[in-house]
Amino acid sequence: MAITYLDAIREAQSRALEEDENVYIYGQDVAAFGGAFKATKGLSERFPGRVIDAPISEDAIVGSAVGAAIEGMRPIIEMQFADFSSIGFNQIINQSATQFWRTGVPCPITIRLPSGGTEGSGPFHSQSLESIYAHYPGLIVMTPATVEDAYGMLLEAIRIDDPVIFCEHKLLYYHLKADELPKTILPVGKARIARAGRHATVVACSAMVHEALRAARELAEEGWQIEVVDLRSAKPIDTDTILASVARTGRLLAVSESFPWGGLTAEVVSRVSAEGFHLLDAPPQRLNSKDTPIPYHPNLWRAHRPTWQTIAAATRNLIQL
């Protein structure tokens, strides 16, 4: 019985609701409808009163989660799309992220963001915002790339006493499958070596891990062994694992679906340059989406984001530097 990335997210929420009476889910269309992507399908029936439909008010949705957390609840907020979290941006970065530091009272909320581009979604249903939220102190940002991590990291996110921004990739929802749910996963905060290699390190997260793995398979046929590191979280970043990888390969390419100015890839490159300069045989490289809003038309969209082809090309270039 194959379990999809989305099933895993639903299962994690179901288990959390069952094991902890303080957990509840709040978001638009999450109750009887089961959520825009069906991530909460069946949960409001199984847990009456604990899966609640919200008005289209992302600011109040997040603000109320903070208030509930102050009183000891553990709310899971489902944003319908990551892109709409910008309406609740103030409450996320200024209310939830500062609560513990300012008052000493923890803020154990989980905000699920259906993230990333899919064909035809356009500028406002495609964004990857891990870089934006990672920038603000007081937030944990998770970017699961596998079915196992979607399950295990979401469970962990709910248990963590800090606000967790949980970036789920929409492309992975229905297409990524596993045979069974994991009993344990790597701890949050550790990156995973998705593919061992020697000639270059490609660091990626979320859907880009799969693009990088495909690029690595392609390059293997040309005789190059590419090591792929799955970050698993944008904050914290597992700098040690990245440095250890670059120690083995000497070459670094950081890949992300985010926009090119700053962000996750710049952060990775900056850390390796500062702390692992002596390990590098070539200047570290970055590959991001283009510096425009995310296009609607599939032709434009496919050219806008990194793909296995552009990752392979960038890696070949890196190897030759």
Binding site: P55, D59, I61, S64, W101, D161, D162
Partner: protein
């Protein structure tokens, strides 16, 4: 009210003497309206009070210790915010007093969430009070918050202090309805329109609003008309406020008005009032002196991480 006014006068004086770090924002003119809400709520019962910048009186009436105020303004490391936030951004969230953020309207939904949590635990008899000014009602956050409270039928009492000015902006640039209470119908909540300078009227209105909320009648919106009797902050001389507004009915000072009433009704004698003024001043002086004698926060003993989950914090962590 007297305690709030006395304390704020002292803080304002210290500010002008350069002894306060950061801004000072006074509730002068709003003490009756604010104190009435704070007094009619019941902290021990589990009620919540989310005050903003002009709610010194309300916070004190609800149960915030004077020393918390003094310590926060004077930057004592022993204050509730430990120097990490200051002046009116203080609070004790676990005692029903969430610490405000600067963005107006944002605290309404936080109170909503606290009430939702209490409801999950079977406590439907607690009330949350949230304050806001006329300017604050213009924000999207206010709209979302009040609408959310109404949809969820939460026991929320919103106290709108219509003090005529948001910083320098007069109400004709802030809202187009006749009176802010007209919005209550739009939200599906009960509205009250009162003289914000009259302590008795405020006490009665909040008593009723809180009682109705507690009984499950949903959010209540109390709009008090009054006049801000200070600048936006103490850095602001408020020269944009026309002096003749002081002579209008809403321009009165609630403290002398209350004092007159107390004396007229013979609920207090002049001697008792004088005594009250003296002991209040002494309390304020003592609290301020104590806060001033306490140590400032030490940057070398700060943990410099913002997560409760320490092992996930980045950067170096000195021993806590």
């Amino acid at each position: 009210m007297l305690l709030a006014r006395t304390f704020e006068d002292k803080i304002a004086a210290l500010y002008r003497a350069g002894k306060i770090v950061g801004g000072v924002y006074l509730g002068r003119g709003q003490e009756a309206f604010s104190a009435a809400l704070g007094m009619q709520l019941d902290q021990k019962h589990g009620d919540v009070f989310a005050g903003l910048i002009r709610d010194q009186a309300g916070r004190m009436a609800f149960g915030e210790p004077l020393l918390d105020s003094a310590r926060t303004y004077l930057g004592s490391a022993e204050g509730p915010m430990r120097g990490r936030d200051g002046n009116i951004h203080r609070g004790r969230p676990l005692r029903g007093m969430p610490a405000m953020i600067s963005h107006l309207g944002a605290m309404i939904s936080v109170v909503n969430g606290m009430l939702m949590a209490k409801r999950f635990r079977g406590r439907t008899d607690v009330v949350g009070g949230a304050t806001i000014g006329d300017g604050g009602t213009s924000t999207g956050a206010f709209h979302e918050g009040l609408n959310q409270a109404a949809v969820e039928r939460l026991p929320l009492v919103v106290a709108v202090a219509d003090n005529q000015f948001a910083y320098s902006t007069a109400t004709e640039h802030q809202y187009a309805c006749e009176n802010l209470v007209d919005r209550a119908i739009g939200y599906g909540v009960r509205g009250y329109r009162i003289d914000g300078t009259d302590l008795e009227a405020c006490l009665e209105a909040f008593a009723e609003a809180i009682e109705r909320a507690r009984r499950g009648e949903g959010p209540q919106m109390v709009v008090g008309k009054l006049l801000r009797l200070a600048g936006h902050g103490e850095h602001d001389d408020a020269r944009y406020i026309p002096p003749d507004l002081r002579d209008k009915p809403f321009g009165g000072d609630c403290l002398p008005l209350a004092r007159e009433r107390l004396l007229d009704e013979k609920w207090l004698s002049q001697d008792e009032l004088d005594e009250l003024v003296t002991t209040t001043q002494e309390s304020v002086d003592e609290a301020v002196a104590r806060a001033q004698s306490e140590p400032d926060p030490n940057p070398f003993r700060e943990s410099w991480h913002a997560l409760a989950t320490k092992h996930l914090a980045e950067g170096t962590l000195p021993a806590d």
